[in-house]
Amino acid sequence: MTWQIFKFDLKFHFRSPLFYILFVLFFLFTFGAVASDAITAGGSLGNINRNAPFVIMQLLLVMSTIFGVITATAYVANAVHRDFELNTDSLFFSSPVKKSQYLAGRFLAAFTMVALVHTGVVFAIMLGSKMPWVDQAHVGPFVLKPYLFSYFVLILPNLLLFSAIFFAVAALTRSLLWTYVSVAAFYVAYIVTRILIAFNVENRTLKSLSDPFALTPFGLDTRYWTVFEKNSKLLALNGAFLYNRILWLSVAVVLLAITFVKFRMQVASAGGGRRKAEPAEPIERIPLALPEVTRRFDLGAAWQQYRSIVRIECSAILRSIPFFVILMLAVINIALGAALGQTIFGTSVYPLTHLMVEAITNGFVFFVLIIATFYAGEIVWRERSIKLNEVNDAMPAPTWTMWGGKLTALIVMLYATLGVAVLTTVIVQLSKGYTHLEPMLYLQGVFMVDGMDVLLFAVLMFFAQIVTNNKYVGYLFAVAYIISTIALNAMHFEHRLYQVFNLPDIRYSDMNGFGHYLSQHLWFMLYWTLFAGVLLQIGHLLWARGTETAFAMRRRIARQRFNGRALATTTVLLASFAASGCYIFYNTNVLNQYRTTDQLEKVQAETEKLYKKYERLPQPRITDAQATVDIYPEKRAVEARGSYTMVNKTGAPIRDLYVTMNPDVDAFTCTVPGASIVSNDRKHGFTIYRFAQPMQPGATLQISYTTTIRNRGFQNQFRDNTVVENGTFVNNFALCPHLGYSGQGELQDPVKRKKNGLAPVIRMAKIDDKAAVMNSELSREADWINLDTTVSTSPDQMALAPGYLQKEWSENGRRYFHYKTTSPILPFWSYLSARYQVKRAMWKDIPIEIYYDAKHPFNVDRMIYSVQKSLDYYTANFSPYQHKQVRILEFPNYSQFAQSFPNTIPWSESIGFIADLRDKDSIDYVFYVGAHEVGHQWWAHQVCGGDVQGATMLTETMAQYSALMVMQKEYGREKMRKFLKYELDRYLSGRGGELVAEMPLMLVENQPYIHYRKGSLVMYALQDQIGEDRVNAALREFIRKHAFGGPPYPTTKDLVAEFRAVTPPEKQAMIDDLFETITLFDNKTTEAKSTQRADGKYVVTVTVESKKYRSSDRGAETYVPLHDMIDIGVLGPSKNKNNDNVLLIERKLITQPTMTFEMVVDKKPAKAGIDPLNILVDRNPDDNTKTVE
C-alpha cells in the first residue's frame, strides 16, 4: 500500500509544474555560476577549477541552504495538506489504508521530489563545466566521486532533516500558515544560534555539531584550503563533521517517528463554512423598518471608501503572523548588523546615523522586499481566497478605491516596517551612548531612498499579481525580476533608463552628504515613479472585479473601463515619463559619456595592446614639477596648469616623447617645445611627439600642460568621486600627464583580460631584471623630484598639497595656497580641499596637524599621539625624519584607505576617524594605521624599491613592521598576539583566494595578503628570534645605503642580505623559511598534564606534535624535516582570552614530529603547549595549547 501511495504521489508531483519550475531554477542558477563569468558565486574562482570538488561541495551546500528548506517544505507540507485542502482526506482516511502506510508513502514521495530537484545543481555543474566557451584550463577531469559525496553526504542528510522537520510541523498543525511560519522561525533560530555560538563558543567541535546545515564544519575545515587543495580534496568524513551527520540524521529519524506516532487519522473538523447549522437562534420578529439613510456616490464618498479599505487591509496585514515573523527576522538581523557594525581588527566604529542607514539598506530592505512580494499576493487575492470577492466586487465603490486602497495599505505597512527599522537602530545608537541621531538623515536615507526602492518594487509586485492573475505566477515574476536585474548588468545592459525600477546606488559621506548623487537619484526616482503610474493605470484596467478570469473577457472589461479620464491620465503620465527620460538621457549620454563596464574595459585593453610596446623605450626623466591647480568644489571642477622640467639621463639621444594622460578629463593640452605631434590618440590618452632635433644625453627640456575636469549634470553611474563639493581628493595620476606608457590602467582580473584578448596575467618583472630596477616602484617617469605647486579653492575651504606652505592669500574671492618641497620626493602627490577643522600639536620641533571634519573629532588626539610615538621610534631606530611637518587629512568615504604622500597623509573618514576606541581592550587600529602611514615616510619616501618582485615588501611590509614595533612599545608584547592572530587569519584565507600564484615574501608581486599580513608575521617572528635591535640595525644600514637612492633602486635581495648579516649562523635557515620560501607549520599539543610538587611548584608535562612544510605557489605541500627553535610555554588563567598570562616560555629545539617536554612553574597552570603566542605561521593556530589536566 505504501508503494501504491508512493507511486500515486510521484505521478501527482510530476504532473504539477512545481517540480519543473524548481528544477529549472536550480539548474540555471548553478549553470550560470559555473559556465559564465557573468554570475559569480562568492567571487572570482581564479585558479580554482570550475568543477573542483570544493566548488561542487560549496554550490550544493549553498543551494540546499538557501533554497532547500523552502523546497522541502513546499513538498512535504503539500503531501499532508493536499488532502485537507481538496477535502479528499475523508476519501483516503475511510479507505483501508493504515496510517503508517499512508504517511510513509506520502513522505517518501515528497522527499524523493526534494532530492530530485537538487540533482539540478549536480547536472548543472557537470554540464556547465563542459561548455565550449569555458576555459578548459580551469576545468579539472571529470570525477564522479565529489558529486556523489556532496550529494549523498553533504546535502541529502540536510534535505532529509528539513523534510522531517516540516513534515512533522505540517502533519501535526495541519495548517499551511503555521508550517510556513515555522520555516521563518527555523531560519531565525538558525541565524540567532549561529551568531550566539560564534560569539560565545570556542569549541570547534561544538560549533560544527550544532549546525544542521553543515556549513560550519565545511567552513572551518576548508577555511585555509589552498587552490591546490580546493581542486583536489574532499571534506574528510570524520571527527566533528561525521558526528554532525550522524547527529542530524538521528534527529530526522526521531522527528519522523514522532510524526508517525502522533498523527491522527481522522477527518479534519475545522473549515468548511456552512457545514453545520446553528441551533435555533431566532431572527427577531420585529418589523424590518431599517432606518433611512442618505447615500452618496461622489468623490468625497469614494475617498471615504478608499480610506476604509486602507484601514481594513492594514489591519489584516497587522493581524497576520508571517508579517511579524519576517519583521522579527529583519529586526534581529539589523540589530545585530547595527550593533556589531563594521569592525577592523575586531574594533567597532561609532554608530553614526549614516552607518545605521547603511545597515538598514543592507540588512533590512531585503526582508521588506520579501514582505512586499508576499503581501502583494495576499492583498490582491485576499477576497478571492476567502471567497468574499463576489460580495465585495458587487459593492458600489469605484474600482480605483479597491486596488488603490489595497496598494496604499501595502505601502503603508512597508513604510511602517522601515519605521521599526529606524527605531531599532536608534535604540542601538542610544544603547552605545551615542546621541547624535540626525533625524533628517534617517528621513532621507531610509524613508526617501530605501522607501522609494521598496515602494516601486511593491508597485511592480502588485502589478504582477494583477496582470498574471495567478498568485504563484505573480511570485515567480518576483524571482524573474530579480534575476533579470542581475542578468541585465551581467550582459552589460547597464543604463538605468531601462533597468526597470532599479534606482542608482546612492552614497553618503558625513563630509559630503549625498553630494552629487542626490540630483541623479531624484531624477531617476521621478522617472520610475511616473512609469509606476503608467503600470497602475494598466493595473486599473485589468483589475479583476467579478469572477471573469479568461483574458479575452478581462480585455473586454478593460476596454469598458478605458474612458476619457483613463486616456487623459495615461497620456499625461506617458508624456511626463518620456520627458523626464529625455532629461536623464541628456545628462547621462549628452553631457556625459555613457559607457558600460565592458566598453571601459575594452578601452583599457586597447590602450595596453596599442601602447605597451613603448613601455621600455627610454624617455627623459622629470626632475621638477610645477603646477597651479584651481579647485571649484561647488561645480565639481578643476583646472590645472603646470610644467615639467626633464632631463635625458640616458646615454643616447631620445627621438620621441610619449605623453600619457587620463582620457576621462574634459580638456587637456600639452606643449612640447621643438617637437611635433606624430599621433594624438585622445580616446586612449596617448600622444607621441617627435623632436625636430633628438634630445641629447644630459639635455634639459620643459614641457607645459593644461587640464580641465568638469563634472556636468549627472552620469548613469558615477565612476569618479575625486572632485566633490566638500572633500576633494585628487592625485597627480588623474590630473597631470605622464611620460611613457604608464601601465596604471591595465586590467588586472585574469578573466577580464582573457575576454579582451590579453595575456591572462601580468606578472611583475623578475627580481633580477636589471632594466626594471632602473625604475622605482612608484614611477617610471622620474626619480626624486622637486614640487612647487599653488592650489586655490572656495573661500570656505582649505586646499592642501604635499610640501611646505610658502604663502597663503585671498584673491578674486578665492583662497590660494602655495606649497613647495624642500627635500626630494617621489613623483606622487595629491590635492585636497574641504571645510576642515584643524588640530595642531608638536613633536620636538616638528608640527603635527590634523585636518578633520567637524563631525569626526573622536580620535584626532589619538592620531596625534600615534604620529608622536612613531616619530619617536623611527628617528631613534631608523634615520632622521626628512620633512619638517606631518599632516593628516580626512577625505570622504568614497574610498576606504589611508595613503602616505610626502609629509601628507590623506585618511578616509570611514577608517579611524570614526573608530570607537572607548573599550580599552580593543585593538587601537587608529594608532596602528597612523604608525603604518608615518612609517611610509621612511619606507617609500626615503627608500623605495625597484619595480620588480618584492617591491611592496620594501614599502608595505616594512611599514607594517614599523607599526608593530611602535604598538609593541606602547601596549606590550602580550597584546600583540591579538593583532597577529588577525594577521595570520587574513594571510591564511588570503592564500585560498589567490588568483595567480602565491609568492614567497621577498618575491611578493603586489599581493596584499602577503606584503601586509604575512609580512607582519614574518617580521614579528624575525625580531622575536634574533632581536629587535638586530633587525633595526639591519634596517638602519639598509636606509644608509639606499635612502633617496636610485636608479638603480634596491631590491629585497639587498634587504634580506642585511638581515642575514645580523642573523647568527645557526638561525640562517630561518631566513630561508621566512623570506625565500612559503613555509608553514602545523603545531599541535596532544597532551598537557601537571602535578604539584612538595615545594608547591607545578611540574607540567606537554606532548606536542610538530610538522613543517613548504608550499608550492598553488598550495601543493611537501613536508620538510624539522630543526627549529620553537616556544614551549605554560600559561596561567587569564580573564581575557586575548591577554595571555604567560607563566613560562622556553625556546626549544624541535627535531621530531612528536616530542614531550617537562617544565616547572610557580603558579597553577591553565594551559600549556607549543608556540603558545602564535609567533609562527601555523595552519591551525587554535590547537597550539591545551588545557592542563
Binding site: 435555533a280 424590518l288 439613510v293 452618496r296 456616490f297 481594513i312 463576489e390 471573469e548
Partner: protein, 299 residues
C-alpha cells in the same frame, strides 16, 4: 422604483467549453422570484451576470431603463447580493466589517451608518455577537451576516443565491419571512435547488437546467396545470427498473424499505396507481424529466 428585470437572449460559454447559459429570455417582475434548478444548471452564472460580476457573450439584461451589462456602477448602487459562496475576514468583528461594507455602499454619514448597522445586526440577531471576530462565527451566523450586508442601503434588486443551504429548518422559515417582507416592493431573485423555498415564498418562478430556461410562470398556476396528471404507487425496490422503462417516472422516494414513485400520465396508468394532489415538486421534476427526455430524443 419598481421595475421589472428583463433578460433577453442571454448566453454564456466558459473558456472550458461549458455552456452555462443558452439563449435565456426571462422577465422577472417585482416581488419574490424563484429560480429553481439542480446544481450546475446555470443559476449562479445567471445570478452573477445580473450582479455585474460576469460578462455575457450575448443578450441583454435591463432593469427598467438600466442596461445591467453596461451600467455596472448604477446597478451596484441598487443591488443587494448574497452569493452562494461567501466567506469573511476571520480577524475582524462583525460590526467593523458591516460598517466597512456600509461605507462601500455609500452610507457616508457616520451616525446613520451606526444606526443602520446596529439595526441590521439586531434584525439578524447578531447584535449580541457584534464584537466577536467573524472567524469565530458558526455557519448560520455567517449566513445571517451575509443577509445583513445584502440588505445594507435599501437595495432595489436583491439577489440571493442558495441562501438557505446551511440553515436549519427553523432558521429557514425566519429567513423566508424576512425575505417576504422586503420582497414586497423590490425585485428579489431567490436561486435555489430546494423546491419548498420557492413554493413557500415566490409569486413567480422559473426552472432552468443545462443553461436553458425550461419553464417560467407562477407556482400555483403550474401546479394547477399539472393537476390530475400525476399518479403515485408503492412498489418493491427491485421493480423500479421496469417501471422506469414503462412509465414516465418523475420522482422516486424510499419509504420504509419500499419505493414510492410518482408517474406522469394524462390518464391513470392502471388502477394500482393512485392520484396525487400535485405539489411544486412534481412540477419541478416533471419539467426536468421532460427536458431530459427531449435531450435524449434530440440526441
Amino acid at each position: 422604483m419598481s421595475n421589472e428585470l428583463r433578460i433577453e437572449g442571454l448566453s454564456k460559454t466558459y473558456p472550458n467549453g461549458v455552456r452555462a447559459l443558452q439563449d435565456v429570455t426571462l422577465t422577472i417582475p417585482t416581488g419574490m422570484f424563484g429560480l429553481l434548478g439542480p446544481n450546475g444548471a446555470g443559476k449562479s452564472t445567471l445570478m452573477r451576470t445580473i450582479a455585474t460580476l460576469q460578462e455575457a457573450d450575448s443578450g441583454s439584461i435591463t432593469l427598467g431603463d438600466l442596461d445591467v451589462l453596461r451600467e455596472k456602477d448604477a446597478v451596484r448602487r441598487i443591488l443587494g447580493y448574497l452569493p452562494q459562496e461567501f466567506g469573511v475576514y476571520p480577524r475582524i468583528s462583525a460590526e467593523a466589517m458591516l460598517d466597512h461594507f456600509a461605507v462601500l455602499k455609500g452610507i457616508t454619514n457616520k451616525r446613520e451608518r451606526r444606526e443602520v448597522v446596529s439595526a441590521l445586526l439586531r434584525r439578524t440577531n447578531l447584535y449580541e455577537a457584534r464584537k466577536q471576530s467573524l472567524g469565530t462565527y458558526s455557519g448560520g451566523m455567517r449566513q445571517r451576516f451575509g443577509i445583513a450586508q445584502a440588505l445594507l442601503g435599501n437595495p432595489q434588486l436583491i439577489i440571493v443565491d442558495e441562501p438557505t443551504a446551511g440553515l436549519d429548518p427553523g432558521e429557514r422559515v425566519r429567513f423566508h419571512n424576512l425575505l417576504a417582507e422586503i420582497g414586497e416592493n423590490v425585485v428579489v431573485i431567490l436561486s435555489t435547488h430546494i423546491v419548498e423555498d420557492v413554493s413557500d415564498l415566490c409569486s413567480s418562478m422559473a426552472i432552468i437546467n443545462g443553461g436553458r430556461l425550461l419553464m417560467t410562470g407562477e407556482p400555483l398556476q403550474s401546479i394547477r396545470d399539472l393537476d390530475g396528471k400525476v399518479w403515485k404507487k408503492m412498489i418493491a425496490k427491485e421493480d423500479l427498473d421496469d417501471y422506469q422503462k414503462n412509465y414516465a417516472v418523475i420522482s422516486t422516494k424510499r419509504i420504509t424499505g419500499r419505493t414510492l414513485i410518482h408517474v406522469w400520465g394524462e390518464q391513470q396508468p392502471d388502477p394500482s396507481f393512485e392520484p396525487v394532489s400535485t405539489s411544486l415538486e412534481d412540477v419541478y421534476f416533471s419539467t426536468l424529466d421532460k427536458s431530459a427526455k427531449g435531450e435524449e430524443q434530440a440526441a
